[in-house]
């Protein structure tokens, strides 16, 4: 097989699985789950082969998909170092999460639908990774949105999940509108949407870079990666099953927005990059604060994800796309680990998600707990763990470019350690605080194994030296570049000291402030107004709710009025009435009597005669 065929096989394996499940296996959940896991394993194998086959030159293959006049849409692969890195991560983490789901979803009634959804998600995600043009990316982008919608709404009999899936879908549409306009504009501007062709055009003539295109395409990223102001859907998306939160809303899909930016990094002028850096930094800090107001273990992790996505976009905005990719990969490892760990705890506690009703988990679920601790240390950026290397690089890049961004990102690091410390001390230590927690038990083998593998990756994932040769090229380049930047060494020592202080202060501070295994939130008890403020998350949901209910609803009522009276009443009913009237008139000529027709016939002849001889007209 050629490399392109291997990639095609990797892309189509999950689609095949999804189609088979949708057509034949909806009622046979167990079989569907094995098929889906087999497809995920297939992706892994094919990805491994493709990465091994990848030589110096990127793999390119394209076929024409649609053709209108001189406008053609092609479907093709562009498999370069960035795509290989991303593919390796998605394939491997995806497989682990599939395996975890076998245990987590074992008792679910709609297993077929769930695993079919996972497969269609993997298909769409691989499509985004491999796509060689903007239109193909957009197609798979929407498919990813659909699978996200389907999987968030898995527990469709609960109002929460139904509302959250709708919210995620609609909020993403807003960003995608900008994305779509951006694609059209890019096609008009460059005459192509092929990524490499656009890159070549920009290289040849840097004045072709347009901030409008960059800003419009950025809208897609803002929606998918849940950046400000479209971040509101991600915390709500936690209503879905936990493996979905791990796969889609932490490791892969939300990171697809960042990946997309890295793919088209050459289109971004300084001004837009600066905007992205500020945006990412503010989200990193904002989400860090929000996490303190949450009691749901998954929502805390969701805000943590938002915050880390902020770090990635800050790194991208500072001009270090490779470092953004680095953090994306390490984040995928440890955040998938944290979510799966949370899933294991939730499963063990019989679907209890409130951290203040857990407690004492360490004794009940030792493997889950220890792997979770590794994830926490990686997230906090403890030296030697994966998160340290990428976060360290981002902070150094920030410090060399802007003091304000550096200060805020460092603050974000303190916040991260603080809220993760709060979670750890409350959940894992002390006494169980509910019946569910006191009956907690360690999860089965299929759930523990992915945790252990991810825990290993959360440590070694940051050691860029041990990565396969074909992956991470752009990361090495960026790190090298950063390493030789002026003032790197001084800044690096500063970051080391500040970063280490951050996690030590964060973990110890939360230990003393929140206390071990306490019943209630110390912040809520001591400073209720502060807690309420953090819990309100700057009232974004309320503001959007007000906008939708009060302003948009009024416009909708007005439009509905126009529709009913003008279009439906005047145009549709009116024209139908006119035609009906003509019909009634001509029908009355048909008397049904033969003599009547004879008279009409005679009248016709007389008229014809009159016209022919010129008596009339």
């Amino acid at each position: 097989m050629t490399a392109a065929q291997i990639l095609l096989a990797a892309l189509l394996a999950p689609l095949l699985s999804a189609v088979l499940i949708a057509c034949f296996l909806r009622r046979r959940g167990t079989l569907a789950s094995y098929l889906s896991v087999a497809a995920a394993a297939g992706i892994c194998v094919f990805s491994y082969l493709a990465i091994k086959a990848n030589e110096a030159e990127p793999i390119r293959a394209a076929i024409e998909w649609l053709s209108f006049g001189n406008f053609t849409v092609s479907m093709g692969f562009l498999f370069d170092g960035v795509a290989a890195t991303m593919l390796a991560m998605v394939a491997f983490v995806g497989l682990l999460i599939h395996v975890f789901s076998l245990g987590y979803m074992a008792d679910d009634k709609a297993k077929g639908r769930f695993f079919g959804g996972l497969s269609i998600f993997m298909f769409s995600m691989l499509g985004i990774i491999l796509a060689d043009n903007l239109i193909m990316i957009f197609v798979f982008w929407e498919l990813v949105g659909f699978s996200s919608y389907m999987l968030i709404g898995h527990y469709l009999d609960t109002d929460d999940a139904a509302a959250a899936s709708k919210k995620a879908f609609i909020v993403n549409r807003i960003g995608d509108l900008g994305f779509l306009i951006g694609i059209v504009y890019a096609y008009w501007h460059f005459g192509t949407t092929n990524i490499e062709a656009m890159g070549a055009a920009v290289n040849a003539d840097p004045s072709l870079i347009s901030w409008v295109i960059a800003a419009l395409l950025m809208c897609g990223f803002i929606g998918k990666s849940a950046q400000f102001p479209l971040h509101v859907w991600l915390p709500d998306a936690m209503a879905g099953p936990t493996p979905v939160s791990a796969l889609i809303h932490a490791a892969t899909m939300v990171a697809a927005g960042v990946y997309f930016l890295i793919r088209i990094a050459f289109l971004f002028p300084e001004s837009v990059l600066g905007g992205i850096a500020i945006l990412g930094t503010s989200v990193a800090v904002y989400a860090g604060f929000c996490a303190y107001g949450q009691n749901d273990i998954k929502k805390i992790l969701a805000y943590s994800t938002l915050s880390q996505l902020g770090y990635m976009s800050a790194a991208f905005g500072l001009g270090f796309a490779g470092i953004a990719l680095f953090h994306l990969i390490t984040h995928a490892f440890f955040k998938a680990l944290l979510f799966l760990g949370a899933g294991s705890i939730i499963h063990g506690c019989h679907h209890e998600q409130d951290i203040f009703k857990m407690g004492g988990i360490l004794k009940k679920m030792p493997i889950t707990s220890i792997t979770f601790f590794i994830g926490v240390l990686a997230l906090c950026g403890v030296y030697g763990f994966a998160g340290f290397y990428s976060k360290d690089a981002i902070l150094v890049a920030g410090g060399l470019n802007s003091t304000a961004i550096f200060a805020l990102l460092t603050l974000g690091a303190f916040l991260t350690a603080g809220y993760m410390g709060r979670l750890v001390w409350i959940v894992f230590f002390g006494e169980p605080k509910s019946d569910a927690a006191s009956h907690a038990h360690e999860s089965g083998f299929s759930m523990v194994l992915p945790l252990i593998i991810l825990a290993v990756l959360s440590v070694v994932g940051g050691w860029i030296e041990v990565w396969p040769e074909a992956t991470g090229e752009i990361i090495r380049e960026n790190l090298e570049h950063l390493h030789h930047a002026e003032g790197h060494d001084a800044m690096h020592s500063k970051v080391m000291i500040l970063g280490s202080t951050a996690w030590i202060v964060g973990l110890l501070g939360s230990f003393f402030f929140y206390g071990v295994g306490k019943n209630g939130d110390a912040l809520q008890n001591r400073a209720k107004s502060v807690y309420e403020f953090l819990k309100a998350r700057l009232w974004f949901d309320e503001i959007y709710g007000f906008y939708v209910a009060k302003i948009q609803q009024r416009v909708a009522v007005l439009l509905s009025f126009l529709d009913v009276f003008l279009i439906k009443g005047l145009f549709v009913r009116g024209s139908a009435g006119l035609v009906g009237l003509v019909g009634a008139c001509s029908r009355s000529l048909h008397v049904g009597n033969i003599h009547g027709y004879v008279y009409w016939f005679l009248a016709g002849i007389i008229l014809l005669w009159a016209l022919a001889t010129g008596v009339v007209l």
Binding site: N593, I594, H595, V598, Y599
Partner: protein
């Protein structure tokens, strides 16, 4: 004794008028049908007269065609009237109003 063209035309016109009145006034489909034939033959008569008057064969030629067509029409029309009578037991025009809305 020679009969002039006008006499033929007057007869033809009278025959045509009788036929037309029959078509418009009579109720029986069969009679209407005969009146139609009468009108056709009135025209035939006029054609023959003109042909003779002009000394050409054009009119006669037309008459042959008209007679052929009329014969075919009679075969078809009578068949329809018979079928109609079998179905509805009547050929009176005032009862054949099924096409009325």
């Amino acid at each position: 004794m020679t009969v002039g063209l006008n006499a033929f035309l007057i007869v033809a016109g009278l025959l045509f008028a009788v036929g037309l009145l029959g078509v418009t006034l009579r109720q029986n489909t069969l009679v209407i049908y005969m009146s139609l034939e009468l009108m056709l033959n009135a025209v035939n008569l006029a054609f023959v007269a003109f042909s003779r008057y002009n000394g050409t064969m054009d009119g006669n030629l037309f008459v042959f065609f008209i007679i052929t067509v009329a014969a075919a029409e009679v075969a078809l029309g009578l068949a329809i009237i018979v079928a109609l009578f079998r179905r509805r037991q009547s050929v009176m025009v005032d009862q054949l109003n099924a096409l009325s809305h």
